[in-house]
């Protein structure tokens, strides 16, 4: 299981870090419909999101947009992996 986990994790990190900077920048389906139906501007950040560490998938302070996105992908993939393991470990210990 260790080998499977490592291979899958490396693949996820590679996709998020190396491929994501080249993803389509176009609005997604909901954003497109919201723009066409003129309710996109109703969306706003929650006050606690003003302090989000990596707003809009770009690491702050990195001038190259693709590098900023790739680093955001790397950080997010590691954070999600850790969060998933932590949740699973906590509920397993409790039961």
């Amino acid at each position: 299981m260790l080998r499977f986990t490592l291979v899958a994790l490396v693949l996820a990190v590679a996709l998020a870090t190396v491929v994501s900077p080249f993803a389509s920048p176009s609005p997604d389906g909901l954003e497109r419909v919201a723009a066409d139906s003129a309710f996109l501007d109703r969306g706003r950040a929650h006050p606690i999101q003003e302090d989000a560490p990596v707003p809009d998938y770009a690491v702050p302070g990195v001038t190259d947009a693709r590098v900023a996105t790739g680093l955001a992908g790397l950080a997010g993939t590691v954070a999600v992996f850790a969060a998933g393991l932590a949740v699973a470990a906590v509920v397993r210990r409790r039961t």
């Binding site: 299981m1 260790l2 080998r3 499977f4 986990t5 291979v7 899958a8 994790l9 693949l11 996820a12 990190v13 996709l15 998020a16 491929v19 994501s20 993803a23 920048p25 176009s26 609005p27 997604d28 389906g29 909901l30 497109r32 419909v33 919201a34 066409d36 139906s37 309710f39 109703r42 969306g43 706003r44 950040a45 929650h46 606690i48 999101q49 989000a52 990596v54 707003p55 809009d56 998938y57 996105t69 955001a72 992908g73 950080a75 997010g76 993939t77 590691v78 954070a79 999600v80 992996f81 850790a82 969060a83 998933g84 393991l85 949740v87 699973a88 509920v91 397993r92 409790r94 039961t95």
Partner: protein, 219 residues
């Protein structure tokens, strides 16, 4: 398909959060009882892969993109209830770390992108297994259909919530959302089937199929 804050009224957001919290709570309970040692890393790596793949927006018609949701893939690998949990972890990190998707809308997003798809695809895969046994082709077919239906169900639910909130008339938003997500759902099905096929090739035992009796490439 992440709803930001401001699209929904507090009442609609709260009404969506109730089934989302219930499903995730049951997912946590099932994680406590069902997760054996080897599925703990599988849960983490499934969540990581779903997050990574969600970043890869692919173009669909007319200056619009779509992205992977992942509920069907998570359901194929971990079952419907753990899929709800996996998608909630992904959406939670996205909302708090990346300001993607609202905070008050988090329940609606978990419902639309996680719970509905996880239960639909997971149910379809379970039904296919019950009818056709452990046939890999049937599993892949059910994963493909479940993936497409998960995206369409999420798009329909999102439309309904926006209409209930008075943000946009249902007659406007529903056809538009279903039309664009019919195309995005094909991408979802392709990614889901590719990932499930890769797991089938590498570790069929994780999908409840017999492990290979010999390994042509020694580990």
């Amino acid at each position: 398909m992440h709803i930001p804050d401001g699209f929904l009224t507090p009442e609609v957001a709260a009404a969506c959060a109730v089934p989302a919290v219930a499903a995730v709570a049951y997912g946590l309970h099932r994680a406590g009882t069902d997760l054996d040692e080897r599925r703990v890393p599988l849960l983490g790596v499934t969540a990581a892969f779903v997050f990574a793949a969600q970043m890869l927006n692919f173009p669909v018609a007319g200056g619009t993109s779509g992205h992977f949701l992942g509920a069907a893939l998570a359901a194929a690998l971990l079952g419907p209830w753990l899929a709800c949990l996996v998608i909630a972890v992904v959406l939670g990190v996205q909302a708090f770390m990346f300001a993607d998707g609202g905070i008050t809308a988090l329940g609606a997003n978990v419902l639309n992108m996680g719970v509905l798809g996880g239960l639909l695809a997971g149910g379809l895969i379970a039904a296919a297994r019950a009818l056709a046994g452990r046939n890999p082709r049937v599993l892949l077919g059910a994963a493909a259909a479940g993936a497409w239906l998960a995206v369409m169900a999420g798009a329909a639910a999102t439309s309904l919530e926006l209409a209930l909130a008075g943000t946009v008339p249902l007659a406007t938003v529903l056809p538009a959302m279903l039309a664009v997500h019919a195309a995005i759902g094909i991408g979802e099905a392709v990614i889901t089937v590719s990932a499930v096929a890769a797991v089938l090739a590498a570790r069929p035992d994780l999908l409840g199929l017999p492990a290979r009796t010999f390994d042509p490439v020694p580990a």
